[in-house]
């Protein structure tokens, strides 16, 4: 029995050394002075290092959180593949960097070690052209098949456009059992990309044997908007509106996640008033996101009434967000160092009123469907996945907690005010659509508990944004009247925030799971590289596995239960 302990950012961690000494001198080298332990690994030993890290009981890095590439055109070893590993038992993180020369960008595929390396590797191939030896389906993930070049390389012109011709349309890759070719009995069904059941624009191709799905494949990328490339051409603060569009059901949490990353790099301390408001509004956003997810999942099962009941609290929360920042959906409410504006004077009353409005709707939905046999028949045991397997796929968030693994960033790596509050991480052990639905209902109650405690503490006095003219825009009164402040204001808008050189991975608990941002700064006003680790990519890559063996109508319910948000999945 072990608890999830906060990690110790110590590069010379003894348990890491026990693994490192097993490999030849010079093939694994620790890099000092970063936010988390980092190794530079030669690519010929990468596969063995990863297997050892996963299986050694001292390290037990059981989850591949993220994989991304970085391009340094000035270096001899131009490309770098960056792996972020996580150990759930120990709460420890490790970053592996694999430098590569331009003419030898071949890496071993890590699917045998972590099955969840599948789509991250396809994404790295798509964006940087890394070849992964042994990958069963190494094709583009986010860009279309007619795309030429690799967009996140520094020498790729962002204005280039490519046409997708009909002969290059995505051809599905099915994992059909070998030796069975009675295709007369089978039929391939295509759903989407524009289909009301697909919650966005996904394309599902399923091979049906009667009513049962034998194999399936999904195509994504219809909502890809080059978030990472765009952020390289904009200043650090200009990226905030882009983060709104990641998980647009809870855009405030994305704002917090991104701003925290930059604040950590700058070493800025956010004023208590802003931290307090961020925690409250994050939890309201989480409630909103869970409302939408549960509402739409139930619609997929035919329970339309719940959709109306679940969207009504959302409407009220949008009202609160709008009174804070002026927009309902794409809030852009955080600024680096604080909030967009001071909280409105009626913030407390409005929040308290919301605490009274929301619970009746949750109760109504629970009374309607919680023990309703029609819903139970549609959801219990559907798309079930064990905790062990879910960890292998890299799942985080409510879906992982529904499979019995109580990993929550707010508890395992507390940020903002979460460690000062009394709340619980709900866990269920069914791993099916019903438990994913239940866990979201329970989390909404926990979020309400958090908000109530914070409101009882009272709003901290003080500024809403850090008083540093190098980070936050100075107050307008001073800009109008003082020359010096005016110069600061101009410098900050024209040049952007000057983030010191370095790299950092920072995470928050998004509504769907761990939302991480991996940022590299070269000391100019723009991010050198910004990678968003949304939870949806890992969740959705397991989708073909989840629906195989079920019926087509079950696949629709399980897609709703995963809460895949296209904006975050495809960035």
């Amino acid at each position: 029995m072990q608890t999830l302990a906060p990690p110790i950012p110590d590069t010379a961690a003894p348990e890491l050394e026990t693994v490192r000494v097993k490999f030849p001198e010079g093939s694994v080298m620790p890099q000092e002075g970063l936010d988390q332990p980092t190794w530079i690994v030669r690519r010929d030993v990468l596969s063995e290092v990863c297997r050892e890290l996963k299986e050694n009981p001292a390290t037990r890095f059981d989850m591949l959180l993220d994989l991304c590439g970085v391009d340094f055109p000035d270096r001899v070893e131009r490309f770098e593949a960056v792996y972020h590993l996580y150990s759930l038992q120990r709460g420890a993180r490790l970053r592996l960097k694999v430098p590569m020369k331009e003419d030898e960008i071949v890496l071993p595929s890590l699917i045998p070690v972590w099955v969840g390396a599948n789509w991250p590797e396809r994404e790295a191939y798509d964006m940087f052209g890394f070849k992964f030896e042994g990958h069963p389906n190494l094709r583009r993930l986010l860009c279309h098949e007619g795309f030429q070049g690799h967009p996140l390389r520094k020498d790729y012109d962002p204005a280039r456009r490519w046409i997708l011709t009909e002969d290059k349309i995505y051809k599905p890759h099915f994992d059909l059992p070998e030796g069975e070719d009675d295709l007369f009995e089978r039929m391939t069904v295509n759903i989407g990309p524009s289909h009301p059941a697909m919650h966005g624009t996904f394309r599902l191709m399923a091979v049906m044997d009667g009513e049962t799905i034998v194999a399936s494949d999904v195509e994504i990328g219809y909502l890809h908007r080059c978030f990472e490339k765009m952020s390289e051409t904009h200043t650090w603060s200009q990226v905030i509106p882009y983060t709104d569009r990641l998980n647009y059901c809870s855009s405030f949490i994305n704002n917090v996640g991104y701003c925290r990353t930059v604040e950590k790099m700058l070493g800025v301390e956010v004023p208590p008033r802003a931290v307090w408001a961020r925690t409250i509004l994050s939890e309201f956003s989480r409630i909103m996101d869970h409302c939408v997810c549960n509402g739409t999942t139930l619609v997929d099962a035919g329970a339309l009434t719940n959709f109306w009941y679940m969207l009504q609290p959302r409407e009220e929360i949008y009202g609160l967000l709008e009174s804070v920042c002026g927009a309902r959906l794409t809030v852009s409410a955080c600024r680096i160092g604080g909030l967009i504006h001071d909280l409105p004077p009626d913030f407390m009353e409005r929040s308290r009123r919301l605490l009274e409005i929301i619970p009746p709707f949750i109760e109504d939905v629970e009374k309607l469907v919680d023990r309703n046999r029609i819903w139970l028949d549609r959801s219990v045991g559907v798309a079930a996945i064990t905790g062990e397997e879910a960890v292998g796929w890299g799942w985080t968030g409510p879906c992982l907690r529904a499979s019995g693994v109580p990993y929550d960033v707010r508890r395992a790596h507390p940020y903002d005010l979460y460690d000062t509050l009394d709340w619980e991480v709900p866990v269920l052990y069914g791993g099916d659509v019903y438990d994913r639905y239940r866990i979201r209902m329970m989390e909404m109650r926990e979020s309400l508990k958090i908000i109530r405690q914070l409101l009882d503490r009272g709003m901290p006095e003080g500024p809403h944004i850090v008083d540093d003219p190098h980070v936050a825009l100075p107050p307008k009164d001073a800009v109008y009247n003082q020359m010096e402040t005016m110069i600061y204001h101009f410098k900050l808008v024209m040049d952007g925030i000057q983030v010191p050189e370095g790299e950092l991975y920072s995470m928050v608990e998004g509504a769907n799971g761990e939302l991480g941002f991996y940022a590299i700064s070269d000391g100019t006003g723009k991010p050198y590289r910004l990678h968003a680790r949304g939870p949806c990519l890992q969740l959705f890559q397991a989708f073909p596995r989840l629906i195989t063996g079920g019926s087509l109508s079950d696949s629709i319910v399980s897609l709703g239960g995963l809460n895949i948000i296209a904006g975050e999945l495809e960035r």
């Binding site: 029995m1 509106p241 009504q312 927009a327 009374k367 693994v405 460690d419 791993g431 503490r457 808008v493």
Partner: protein
């Protein structure tokens, strides 16, 4: 009373990770009542309650019969932009390009010209916002050092062609009927009046200036006639 935030309540029960991970599934087991569809009665009572409450007009309706009725937004709403004017009716903008620089969507196009008044260096000959590109983030308002661009709470913008969506100087000056209730996101809000210096309040009375500009235009129009 505000409590210090450093005060920590005792840490809640930390979740214990099972070792190894759950490899078996324990799905919900429906009881006898559930198998007999009995809880459906409770659910039907919920919908009936909502039905009668809405029938008698006691429930809150969340739908709005737009455009007859409109949603009430706060005075921070980020809607259609407004270019503010000086008390004499001329544009307050000095064409410093800060808004165009701050815009993440790169939707603001400015061409600067020399102002006839020697005390004012520049003014925008062309000031255009592409409303189809604009993401209404309010960065231009934050960036403006002159309070020359603010936002209104006007949110219904519809165009027949892409050309119409590029809104010029004249349209940006008059998107609202000179009423304080139609102002949106701007550097300071009514509840912060006490914080504002007296000088600024006099200098930036946007509504009065807009009215003046309209009067001037009407006089000029009458003169032309």
């Amino acid at each position: 009373m505000t409590q210090p935030l450093t005060q920590t309540t005792p840490p809640a029960k930390r979740p214990v990770l099972r070792e190894p991970y759950p490899t078996d599934l324990k799905p919900y087991k429906p009881g006898l009542a559930e198998r007999l569809y009995l809880p459906l009665i409770g659910g039907l009572m919920v919908t009936l309650r909502h039905f009668f409450r809405n029938l008698l007009g006691r429930g809150k309706m969340y739908t709005i019969e737009y455009p007859e009725k409109r949603r009430e937004y706060s005075h921070r709403f980020r809607g259609h932009h407004i270019l503010t004017s000086r008390p004499d009716g001329s544009l307050r903008c000095v064409a410093c390009y800060l808004c165009a620089q701050a815009c993440p969507a790169e939707c603001i196009h400015i061409e600067a010209g020399e102002h006839p008044d020697v005390n004012i260096e520049k003014y925008p000959v062309v000031y255009e916002i592409d409303m189809l590109r604009c993401i209404f983030c309010g960065y231009c308002v934050d960036a403006c050092p002159e309070e020359a661009i603010i936002m209104s709470n006007n949110y219904d913008m519809a165009y027949f062609t892409r050309e119409q969506s590029i809104v010029g100087k004249n349209d940006l000056m008059k998107p609202f009927t000179f009423d304080e209730s139609q102002l949106g996101y701007r550097p300071s809000f009514p509840e912060e009046d006490a914080k504002r210096s007296r000088m600024r309040r006099d200098a930036f009375d946007i509504v009065a200036a807009a009215k003046r500009a309209q009067e001037l235009e009407e006089t000029a129009a009458r003169g032309r006639r």
